[in-house]
């Protein structure tokens, strides 16, 4: 499973058979159930799925930020720069990796900044924590540099402002500045929970593209909207009920989606100028991840299901060099 699309062949991040369990009062929830994926340098991977499918848990597992009491990685490896993050002691993970080589942006800019500290303080904190700047003056200068980097006008004077004095778009930039302060190799973008202005989203995407070109930053974009993913990402991994059901580069997924679930997601994207009778939506609910069915997890909602689907989980089939699907009856057979 080494599907890197852009020029580089060496993946930056490789997740192998990751299994993350949440120990809840109702039982053990298998939030991530054997996920493997890879992100190359300078590549953007879209991780797409409905809420609760495990995409956020996958990313929190990569960062090792699972809920302290209940979450645990029970199996699998997360290789970043040749190191298995799942084996690192927490101390080292915090000091040398989180924020330093892999960072995450929670994309609601309205709530992601601490309201009672200045922007300069918050952007400077990771720099200080990772020893990239020290002393009041040094941290300040470094923070200004980072803010300029994300194109915040008159960064020097804005350093002493509080988050509420910034517009939504500028706040998003500040949040990104925090994440990018230590020049991480991998950035995880969680989908916006509040409806951010579309123009701001577009601006941010352009900004990230530029940064990516400059520095070879690898990005994982978590989203429930395949349309957004199609616009931004090089490759897309579709997740359903704790597992990845289809991976491929954007064009392939868009044109030759093989998994019925991917198809359904694509059909639910509204197209400009195309009148349709109704938005295709998928009936039913994803299965419980506490006691998942043994067969294909999408089977109960799938129009193409057969007895086999309900009995046995489908193996991954390679349809094209960079296109795999886990389905008994893929919509597009091997090219």
């Amino acid at each position: 499973m080494q599907q890197t699309v852009p020029a580089q062949a060496q993946p930056l991040l490789r997740v192998e058979n990751l299994q993350t369990h949440l120990y809840l009062r109702r039982g053990v929830l298998k939030a991530v159930d054997g996920v493997s994926l890879a992100v190359g340098t300078g590549e953007t991977l879209g991780l797409v799925g409905e809420s609760g499918c495990g995409k956020t848990m996958t990313c929190l597992s990569i960062l090792r930020l699972l809920p302290k009491q209940s979450g645990r990685i029970v199996e699998g490896q997360v290789w970043l720069d040749g190191i298995d993050l799942t084996r690192l002691p927490e101390q080292e993970m915090a000091r040398q990796w989180r924020g330093r080589r892999v960072a995450m942006v929670t994309q609601d800019p309205m709530t992601s900044l601490n309201p009672v500290f200045t922007v300069g303080d918050q952007v400077g904190a990771p720099l200080r924590a990772h020893g990239l700047a020290s002393g009041a003056r040094g941290v300040r200068d470094a923070a200004v540099k980072v803010l300029r980097h994300v194109r915040i006008p008159s960064a020097e004077t804005r350093l002493d402002d509080y988050p509420h004095q910034f517009s939504g778009g500028m706040r998003q930039r500040v949040v990104s500045a925090m994440a990018l302060a230590c020049q991480p190799r991998l950035l995880i973008l969680d989908e916006p929970t509040s409806n951010l202005d579309v123009t701001i989203q577009v601006q941010m995407i352009e900004l990230f593209r530029e940064l990516q070109n400059d520095s070879g930053l690898g990005i994982i974009l978590i989203t429930h909207d395949l349309g957004v993913a199609a616009a931004i990402c090089h490759r897309v991994a579709v997740m359903y009920a704790g597992r990845i059901v289809e991976v491929g580069d954007v064009r392939t997924i868009y044109r030759r989606a093989a998994h019925p679930y991917t198809r359904a997601l694509l059909d639910s994207i509204p197209h400009l100028g195309v009148r349709r009778e109704r938005l295709a939506s998928i009936g039913g609910q994803p299965p419980s991840l506490i006691d998942p069915p043994s067969g294909c997890r999408f089977a109960p909602r799938c129009a193409h299901r057969t007895a086999q689907c309900e009995r046995e989980y489908p193996p991954e089939i390679q349809l094209a060099p960079h296109h795999t699907v886990a389905c008994w009856h893929p919509l597009h057979e091997q090219a």
């Binding site: 601490n114 309201p115 509080y162």
Partner: protein, 306 residues
Amino acid sequence: MLGYLLRRLAQGLLSIVGASIVIFVISRLSGDPIVLLLPSEAPPALIEQVRHDMGLAEPVWRQYLIFAGKALGGDFGNSYRWQAPALSLVLDRLPATIQLAFAGLAFSILLAVPFGVLSAVYRGSWFDTFGKGFAMLGQAMPNFWVGLLLILVFAIHLDWLPAYGHGTLAHLVMPAIALGWYPVAAQTRIVRSAMLDVLDSDYIRMGRAVGNPEWLLVWKYALRNAAIPLVTVLGVYFAAMLGGAFIVETVFAWPGVGRMVVEAVFSRDFPVVQAGVLLTSVLFVGANLLVDLSYGIIDPRIRYDH
């Protein structure tokens, strides 16, 4: 902001006027206020004099205005026990009371903040359970009993601290603990629940995701947010300290307003009682007002939003 300030100031003044009316009305409940204001052995000439000064023949509202007017000028009458103006007697005792109230508040906060933070961080652990039990226990112990137990243990049996009196820091320790004991429980609960909310917020998660160390996130970034609800009620707690001072001062023979008023009640020195209680009310209201106005220091949003 200015409008808000003025509105709060007006409310505070209204409360103080109200308090003075309440005290005035209560002092008229017993019938002839002369009985309260003068010792029983006062010469008839003096009684006539006071009766005239207070305008007791006038309608009640006029009497109140006379009372309020004099009170505003600082004239609550003379303490017949000390033969001195009641207000100045009380004011002399004020620094000791304020000192004690601050010490009590400081004790409770110094205990409540770490307790609250730690029980939120280690939610559900033995520490949290222990804290909960401790809090319930604290709220079931009257402050004067705590004071007596402290004296019993630390003054009588261990002989570490002076049992009563005023002057050195050692004198302050036990009264401050007795006074600050009770609010620890409630303040811990406030900090804990605020902290739980804050630790679950996006900005703390974001702070973790960029690699800020956990101790920094908890004790700097989360704590300042979690402190806001505590700060908003600090006025109430300072006021509670002033209220509690009446009894704790009596236990420890602390030369403050509270003990003076309690003694005045027994010697039927009503001018002192009136002056002391009204002064405490003014402090009470003033403390709340000050705290209201100081939110802006800890929460920058307040400064600009208004």
